[in-house]
Amino acid sequence: MNLTVLLWGIPQAMRAAAKVYPEYAARLKERNLVAQFRLRDKPEGRWIKLENGRITTRSGLHKKPDLDIHFKNRAIAERFLTPPFNLLERVDAAKNFKIGLNGPDELAVWFMQTLARLESVTWKAGTDMGNGVTRYTNGTNGGPIFVYVKDGKILRTTPMDLADDDPESWTIEARGRKFTPPRKTTAAAHAMCQKSMVYSKNRILHPMKRVDFDPNGNRNIQNRGKSEFVRISWDEATDIVSSEIKRAKAVGPGAVCVANGSHHQWGNLGHYLSGFNRFWNLIGATKLVHNPDSWEGWYWGAMHHWGNSLRLGAPEFYGTVEDCLKEAELMVFWSSDPDATYGFEGTQRRAWAKELGIKMVHIDPFMNHTAAHLGGKWIAPKPGTDPALAQALCHVWITEGLYDKAFVEKRTNGFAEWKAYILGETDGQPKTPEWQEKETGVPARDVRALAREWGTKKTYLGAGGWGVGVGGACRGPTGAQWARMMAILGAMQGYGRPGVNFGNLQYGSPLDFNFYFPGYAEGSFSGDLQYSANSANNYQRMPHIVTMSSVRQGIPRMWFPEAIMTGTTPMGYLTDVASVHGQFFPVRYPSPGHAPVQMLYKYGSASFGTMVESNRWVRMYQHENLKFVVNQSVWWEGETPYADVILPACTVFERWDIGEWYNVGAGYVHHMFSMNNHRVISLQHKCIEPLGESKSDYDIFTAICEKLDLGSVYSEGGTTELDWCKRVFDSSDMAQHTTWREFLKKGYFVVPNDPESARAPTANRWFYEGRKKDTPEPYPLPSDYVGNYGEGLQTPSGKFEFIANSLKRIDDPDRPPLNQYLPTFEDQSRDPELAGFPLQLLSPHSRYPFHLMGDDEGSSLRDIREHRVFKDGHYYLVARINKDDAEARGIRDDDLIRLWNHRGSVVCAAQVTSRLPRGVVSASTASAEYRPAGEPGRSTDLGGCVNLLNSSKPITKKSHGIKPNTTLIQVEKWTGVDTWRPLEVANG
């Protein structure tokens, strides 16, 4: 199209939009400016003047434009400005300096967004329900939801009922019956509390500054966590933050450190791997190197027997729902509680298994929620002793010939050495059921019976919460041993044959795995190619500008306090999914050539309630080495007041986003949406305006960037969040099935299913049958195949290795190549210093909140009596205690009790139960609240941060995994007077 016409058209369109849309007219009144479009090679162009909302414009050049937008030549300008806009062309033009913009950054962003709104102002969102009610959609960590809004307020949120014209649901035919899931989505508890969280009294509504913090004078760092806060303007807040960034960077690269939790409110754009990632790349910051939380034992341990690095060492799951329902006779749930945390899609499928008469066994010190609901045999080993139980199963299988000899012979190596160990030929101790009884407390007869059942029936092993990993025993002191045993047990039974595989029906729905929609781990608009999975698909499908940080420094997250307080850390190791050996690479702080951390940009406030031995975190904040802390959060949580400046972010209901239910993305829990009965993509509508002065994270980062002249770069030339949603839509396969306007209005899209004949093949079947890999996973990398591409496993031999050869390349005494039983390091009977702590604390993932999301004060979750109990004006976190242990201490239901050891002390409300054996207490890691009774970091916590009690020693000597799942403690009735102080213990 002709440039003269194009340039003439821009102000015309602006005038027209202002006439029709009052919000556009209001927008034009926000700034007075002169913007000019011109060519570089000729004195041609047009200027547009905005004054009090009125537009004047003329062709030609202006003497003193505020904004100067220039194009190399006419051809480039025409390609850039002619709709429909080709984003790849636009990105190319910007990257190669074919276009440019001179002028104040903030003004440039404002103007470019105003131009972008010419299109988006015509877009309509939501479904009119009558009576002034509009139904929008959104997404959560517990399922997609409808959001009903009236008069600018959220009326209600519900799970989604699918419409009749949404694609047909799948059907599985098994044992003469047909199973089809209900045509609706389910919601976890933490998806149902969202309205109460949006309007919680705990929302941070204004930017704030600590009263005794003077950036130009006395910072009073020792008072962090204790001082009051005063309200300040956004302008002052972004001034302070941007100045502090500059001040820190003057010290050296890496002086700014960024820290976020492992999770986020749902949505691709707002995720920390997207918006925050782009921000920290443009600033340049030291990052915390995350532990592979929830996968510890699989990543550091099991991976060495069979590879699966892309899945952090956990096994495949394709087709297992169908295979299990058709073939399985027994399901063994080992440290497996899928009914906690991740919603209830799988619950419906397990109900079908029960109807089909499939037998169930549950191995868990706690008779967990799934076990209580399904029934079946409950086996309760002492926490951390499960590997011994597993080895005894091997002993029965070997002595009675109850294992898959053909599979072991053809597809594995190292079995002879493993067999010798189990029979006691190497260490003189046969691993019999009688031997394990001394370790685990489980009667020998039960282990024999289980081994015989398992060895004679087609059995699915549901290892971990998802059946294919996650949580539970894998993150205890013997977590690596346990996960390794799960892999070994599977191999002895020939995993991959019909009815024999890994899973508990939580994963493996027969969905379309080829339909592309990006997950949050793919980095969205971050532009980052190194830290996210952006390069897998997203970077080509959604052209955007790359960002890259020049800072290489990382701190192992577990030892962040040590890094700050002592200037160095013990050795950490990488979480690298590309290979098995990536985890051998050390990470240490400080990095060569980098500066020590001066300031912390904390995103969210989860650490006190989730990190191990978190009293260290509390003390870190008050250390003089940490010169400045800014905390960007939605809610006031335990960690929030340990900052100098607080920036209020809004919830996902107050901004635009887009995401698919449980689609995390390429390379990180690949195809996670197979947990669901349907693939549902939500346009996460902005349902209401941000509360108070809170802003979207995108707007906050843009505002700070503007103070550093990075606003245009951050926002990629003034792209709005809604525009990004469209770009994500256009980049996905959805664009082949529906239009943007339809999707924006309806708010959700259900991906059609494959016909039965085209479903993805069953997991591991290819390996069992000696064929090339045929499941739709993009790993192992070609370079990790020992033989021909597509043949065998990601191991040095290509076979399943009973003796893990890759572990011969690292000398880790806690991870010998032969997975021998090494008792937990925390054993009261073996360590006299721990004699005062006779009980074991299990701290599983929380059931009702998602980690601590939803646990905030004001959340409706708090009234759930199995989560918190309201007593003396406060909601105390529930701790389950065995009936006899309670009676011995005079403790009854709802009594306040104190859990403590040398590391920490926490007050909880007792739930007396028979679902735990004597000697075991269970309290989930789920506290959004930190409420020290006395000195922060050195007194009893009333908020419920049980992780204060966990050790910060790594799961194995040469790894970087946490092991919060079991810890030694003592329990007594809470007297109301805090006498506890931290103690240094040699083995702690």
């Binding site: 519900t158 508890a189 009294k201 008779m367 029934g375 028979s914």
Partner: protein, 281 residues
């Protein structure tokens, strides 16, 4: 005859996910439905609540959960305690506490034998779960609890009373505290999981000093010579006989398997029992 609302709750299907509990809170927190219900306080009220009940001891334990709510009784004690016509029974069976007329009437709360009425201190109002009448009246086909429940615990049925009586008989449904004559419209299936006891045990045998579970053994429970129940042991030698009346006195247990027999006696108190290891000889 008019069709009326009834709710059937299946205790066996509830796993305490709390979605129904949260859905009711979500519906009424911050929302005013004039004529139906005033807003619920932000925290503290449990118009629909879940009771929990554990039975047995290691290794044979079960845990069950029961949603409880206003029963919308046909012969409601709260209606008798109310003054000023503050509580009305609709033609479709739903009971509504008028959010205007009921102000200040705290006595209504104590009148309910089920504890289903919550007192709103700020608004000085008694409040109940209203069967989502406001939604049903505007065309919703299900209550919020039913819509959100992932395990099909709830069935709301709009049928004539005669039909409901037939369903009650056919499915063995029960109401809470029937002896009070309140005539609830909320019915429970598998209520025995909350109200009755089970007894259980583990049958074993020892051969050459090695103890093993005994599968397939026959267990017969008797009282005064009369057979009360029987079971067959599973692969772990475990057996369980349910629906026994708490405090029902002495029982005899007789176990027989290919490895021998076992006989015992016990007294059933208020709690379910795990009788322990039963060696065949």
């Amino acid at each position: 005859m008019a069709s009326k609302w009834n709710m059937v709750v299946d205790v066996a299907r509830c796993n305490n996910c709390r979605v129904c509990f949260l859905a009711v809170k979500d519906e009424h927190n911050g929302n005013d439905f004039p004529g139906y219900a005033a807003p619920q306080p932000a925290q503290g009220h449990k118009w629909l609540d879940i009771r929990r009940h554990e039975r047995g001891s290691l290794p044979i334990v079960d845990a069950h959960f029961m949603p409880v709510m206003c029963n919308h009784c046909d012969d409601a004690p709260c209606m008798k305690a109310a003054t000023n016509g503050a509580i009305k029974k609709r033609d479709d069976g739903i009971v509504i506490i008028d959010p205007e007329k009921a102000k200040g009437q705290k006595q209504i709360v104590d009148a309910c034998p089920y504890g289903s009425i919550s007192w709103n201190e700020e608004r000085q109002l008694p409040q109940i779960w209203i069967f989502d009448a406001h939604l049903l009246d505007s065309g919703w086909k299900q209550t919020r609890a039913e819509q959100g429940c992932p395990t099909a615990v709830f069935r709301s049925l709009k049928v004539e009373d005669a039909e409901m009586a037939r369903i009650k008989a056919e499915e063995g449904l029960e109401v809470l505290k029937p002896e009070l004559g309140t005539k609830p419209r909320v019915y429970y299936k598998n209520l025995h999981l909350m109200t009755k006891c089970f007894v259980s045990g583990s049958v074993v045998k020892t051969t050459n000093g090695v103890e093993d579970c005994v599968a397939g053994a026959e267990v017969v429970l008797k009282q005064g010579g009369r057979e009360i129940g029987r079971a067959t042991t599973d692969a772990f030698g475990e057996w369980k006989i349910d629906r026994l009346e708490p405090g029902s006195g002495k029982y005899q247990v007789e176990v027989s398997g290919s490895a021998g027999r076992y006989a015992g006696e016990f007294e059933l108190g208020s709690e379910s029992r795990y009788l322990g290891v039963m060696p065949l000889g």
